[in-house]
C-alpha cells in the first residue's frame, strides 16, 4: 500500500480526532454545567444526585438582575396580580422585587474597562511596535527588554504599591484607573507581539508608498496597518481576555462605581443564601462578549498563531 509522508494515515487521523474530542469534552463540560445551572431552580441546582434533566426556569436570571424582599403570605395576597413573568417567579418564593440589582452596572463596567484598556493597549502598542520595528531608537534592545521585564513578574506582586499609589492619586475605584492599570499590564504583550508582526511586513511596501507621494504617516496608516490587521486582531483578543477575566486587581482596587463583573459575581452568594443559578446566570452572560469577540476574530487568531511559521 502506498502512503504519504506528509498526509497522516486514517488511523492517525482517528487518534488525533479522538484526542481533540476528548479535550473539547473535558473543557466544555464545566462550561455546559454552568450554562445549565443558570436555568435550574435553586433546589434543583443543589439536589443530590445532580440533576441532568430538569424543568428549565428563568429564576436564576431574574434573581441575577433584581433585588428582592421577603413578604408575608398575607401581604402577598393583597398585591395586584403580577405584571410580568419575573414578578410571578419571585412571588412563588414569597418575595417581591425591590429593585434592579447591580449586575447590569458591573457588567457595563467590565465592558468599558475591558474594551477601553484593549483599545488603548492596541493603539499605543501598534505605534510603539512600528517605531521599534522601523526606526533607529536609542537603546532599542534595552528598552524592549525593559518593556518585556514588566511581564516577568506576576502583576499581583505589585498590588500593594499600586493600591497605595492609586489611593494617593484618587484613581481607586475609577474607570480611568482600571483602564490605565490593565493597559500597563497588557502593553508589553502588545508591543512584543505587534513588533513581531511589523517586522514581517516588508519595508518595500512603505517605501513604495513614500515614493508614490505619501507621507510616512499615510504610508503607515494605509499600507502597513491593513497588513498588520491579523496581528492586531490576535493581540486584541489576548489583551481583552486578560482585562476581561482579571480578578485580583479588581477585588483590590474596585468596590463600587468601577467594580467589574468578576469580583461582583461571587458576592451574589451572600445575597439570600447560596443562589447558584443566579451566579451561573451571571457567569454565562459574562462569558458571552469574549466568546463573540473571539469567534468574530477567530480567522485572524488562527492566522496569528501560525504567523511567520511559513514564509509566504
Amino acid at each position: 500500500m502506498s502512503y504519504s509522508i506528509t498526509e497522516p494515515s486514517s488511523r492517525q487521523k482517528k487518534v488525533a480526532g479522538s484526542l481533540v474530542i476528548l479535550y473539547a469534552f473535558i473543557t466544555l463540560v464545566p462550561l455546559f454545567w454552568v450554562f445549565m445551572t443558570g436555568f435550574k431552580t435553586p433546589p434543583d441546582s443543589i439536589s443530590y444526585p445532580p440533576k441532568i434533566l430538569f424543568t428549565p426556569s428563568l429564576e436564576g436570571y431574574v434573581n441575577l438582575f433584581t433585588t428582592r424582599t421577603r413578604v408575608s403570605p398575607e401581604t402577598l395576597q393583597q398585591l395586584p396580580p403580577p405584571a410580568n413573568f419575573a414578578e410571578e417567579i419571585v412571588r412563588n418564593r414569597n418575595m417581591v422585587i425591590a429593585g434592579p440589582s447591580k449586575y447590569g452596572e458591573r457588567f457595563l463596567n467590565s465592558v468599558i474597562i475591558g474594551f477601553g484598556s484593549t483599545f488603548l493597549s492596541i493603539f499605543l502598542g501598534t505605534l510603539a511596535a512600528y517605531g521599534f520595528s522601523r526606526f533607529k531608537v536609542p537603546f532599542k534592545d534595552d528598552l524592549l527588554f525593559f518593556i518585556l521585564s514588566t511581564r516577568m513578574m506576576p502583576p499581583i506582586a505589585v498590588a500593594i504599591p499600586i493600591f497605595l499609589m492609586y489611593r494617593k492619586l484618587g484613581l481607586s475605584d475609577t474607570h480611568v484607573g482600571m483602564i490605565l492599570l490593565y493597559t500597563a499590564v497588557n502593553i508589553s504583550l502588545a508591543v512584543w507581539l505587534l513588533k513581531g508582526f511589523m517586522d514581517e511586513i516588508p519595508l518595500e511596501y512603505e517605501e513604495a508608498a513614500l515614493i508614490d507621494g505619501y507621507t510616512r504617516f499615510q504610508a503607515f496608516y494605509k499600507v502597513v496597518l491593513p497588513q498588520a490587521a491579523t496581528g492586531i486582531a490576535s493581540t486584541a483578543i489576548f489583551c481583552l481576555i486578560f482585562a476581561w477575566n482579571e480578578y485580583a486587581f479588581a477585588v483590590l482596587l474596585t468596590s463600587g462605581t468601577a467594580q467589574t463583573a468578576p469580583p461582583f459575581i461571587p458576592t451574589i452568594i451572600g445575597v439570600g443564601g447560596l443562589d447558584w443559578p443566579a451566579m451561573a446566570a451571571g457567569a454565562t452572560i459574562f462569558l458571552l462578549p469574549v466568546l463573540i469577540f473571539t469567534v468574530m476574530l477567530r480567522k485572524h487568531l488562527l492566522r496569528g498563531i501560525t504567523f511567520g511559521a511559513v514564509r509566504k
Binding site: P202, E204, Y205, E207, A208, A209, L210, I211, D212, G213, Y214, T215, Q218, V223, P226, Q227
Partner: protein, 363 residues
C-alpha cells in the same frame, strides 16, 4: 524627464562606508546602468537618489533641483523594487491608481490614465484581479505600470528582473528596453548582471566596494576597461590578464614581456615594475606564425564559437576562436594578440595605463 547629477555622494553606515564620493551624470532620457557585485554600494546609491536613504554628504540634482535632503515623496521619481512591492491588499487597478490619488488627481482622469498605461503594458484584462494571484511577469508589469503611470522625472529600478526566471527575464529585458524607447524616460537601473547591463544600457557605471570604477558606454567599458576590476568583471569569459614585470615608456608602441614582444596602442603613461597585460579572448588568434608558444589545456564548444584554454608562460589564457577551427587538447600552438586591443594595467594601483585607446573615454 530630467537629468540626474550625482556629486561626491557618500554614505556611511556607522563605521562602514557603503558609498565613497561617487560622481556621475545621468543624461535626460538615458537608460543608465549601475553595475557591480553585491555589496558594492549600487543599491545604496539608487536608494539615495530615490530618497529612501539620506546621504552622509554630497549632492543629488534631479532636473536641476538639489534634492539630497528632500523626502522621497517630494522628489517626483518612480521606483521599481526587486520584489515588486505591489500593495497586497489592493487589486491591480488600485495599485496603478494609488500614485495618482496621492497627487489629488480627479477620479475620471485617474481612470483614463490607468487604462492608458494598462494598454501600453498589455494588462487591461487583469485590472480587476487581486495582485496575490498574478504570475511573476504580470506582477512585474504592474510594478512597471505603477512607475510609469505618474509620468515622473525619472525611473529608478532595483534589479527589477532579478525575481524572474531566466527565460522570462530575457523577454522582460526586451520589453523593458522597448518601453524605454517609447517613453524615452531617464532611467537608473541597478543590476549585478553584466550581460543585462551591456544589453540594455546606454551608459554603465561600474561600482566596486563603494567606489565608481568606471563610467561610460557599454563599448567603452568593454573595450577600454579603466581598471583590473572592470576588465575582470565585464565580459564572459572575462579579459585575460597576464602579469609581467618590466618597464613601459610614454610613446612606446611595443611591450616586452620577458622575451616576447607585443605590438600595442601607443602609450601615454610611463610605468615601471609589475604590470598586467589585458586582452579579450576574441582578440587572440591561434597561429603557428607567432613565437609566443602555448599548449591547449581545454576546449569548450559553444555553437557559434569555442573557448580554448591555453597554458602560457604567464598563466592560463582563454581564446575565442571559430567553432570550425581545428584544435585538440595537448596541441602546441603560437598565440597572436590584436595590437589595437591591448590594455596595460599598473598592478600596484589596479588602474589602466593611458594609451591612445583611452582618448575621449571618461573614467
Amino acid at each position: 524627464m530630467a537629468q540626474i547629477l550625482i556629486k561626491n555622494l557618500r554614505k556611511d553606515f556607522g563605521d562602514f562606508t557603503a558609498v565613497h564620493a561617487s560622481t556621475f551624470t545621468v543624461e535626460d532620457g538615458e537608460f543608465f546602468m549601475l553595475l557591480g557585485p553585491s555589496g558594492c554600494g549600487k543599491t545604496t546609491t539608487l536608494r539615495m537618489i530615490a530618497g529612501l536613504e539620506l546621504p552622509s554628504s554630497g549632492e543629488i540634482h534631479i532636473g536641476g533641483k538639489e534634492v539630497a535632503n528632500l523626502p522621497a515623496s517630494e522628489r517626483d521619481i518612480a521606483f521599481v523594487f526587486q520584489m515588486f512591492a505591489l500593495y497586497p491588499h489592493f487589486n491591480v487597478r488600485r495599485n496603478l491608481s494609488y500614485p495618482l490619488i496621492s497627487q489629488g488627481m480627479k477620479r475620471s482622469a485617474v481612470k483614463a490614465r490607468v487604462l492608458e498605461v494598462a494598454k501600453i503594458l498589455g494588462i487591461e484584462s487583469i485590472l480587476n484581479k487581486p495582485v496575490g494571484g498574478l504570475s511573476g511577469g504580470d506582477r512585474q508589469r504592474v510594478a512597471l505600470g505603477r512607475a510609469i503611470v505618474r509620468d515622473p522625472q525619472a525611473f529608478l529600478m532595483d534589479e527589477p528582473l532579478g525575481a524572474l526566471d531566466a527565460e522570462f527575464r530575457e523577454h522582460m529585458a526586451v520589453e523593458l528596453r522597448a518601453l524605454h524607447e517609447r517613453m524615452n524616460a531617464t532611467t537608473v537601473y541597478v543590476t549585478h548582471d553584466q550581460l543585462e547591463a551591456m544589453q540594455m544600457g546606454d551608459k554603465i557605471v561600474i561600482m566596486n566596494e563603494g567606489l565608481v570604477e568606471q563610467f561610460g558606454t557599454p563599448q567603452e567599458v568593454y573595450n577600454t576597461p579603466a581598471s583590473l576590476f572592470v576588465a575582470d568583471f565585464i565580459g564572459s569569459p572575462s579579459m585575460n590578464l597576464l602579469p609581467f614585470s618590466g618597464s613601459v615608456e610614454a610613446g612606446a608602441s611595443k611591450v616586452d614581456m620577458g622575451g616576447v614582444e607585443f605590438d600595442m596602442p601607443v602609450q601615454r603613461e610611463h610605468c615601471d615594475g609589475s604590470m598586467v597585460l589585458g586582452i579579450r579572448p576574441e582578440n587572440i588568434s591561434l597561429t603557428d606564425a607567432s613565437s609566443y608558444r602555448s599548449r591547449v589545456l581545454a576546449t569548450e564548444y559553444l555553437g557559434t564559437s569555442q573557448i580554448v584554454t591555453l597554458e602560457t608562460n604567464h598563466g592560463a589564457v582563454k581564446a575565442r576562436v571559430g567553432s570550425s577551427f581545428d584544435v585538440a587538447v595537448g596541441d602546441q600552438t603560437g598565440l597572436a594578440f590584436d595590437a589595437g586591443a591591448i590594455t596595460l594595467f599598473n598592478a600596484q594601483t589596479g588602474k589602466a595605463l593611458q594609451s591612445v585607446l583611452h582618448e575621449g573615454v571618461g573614467t
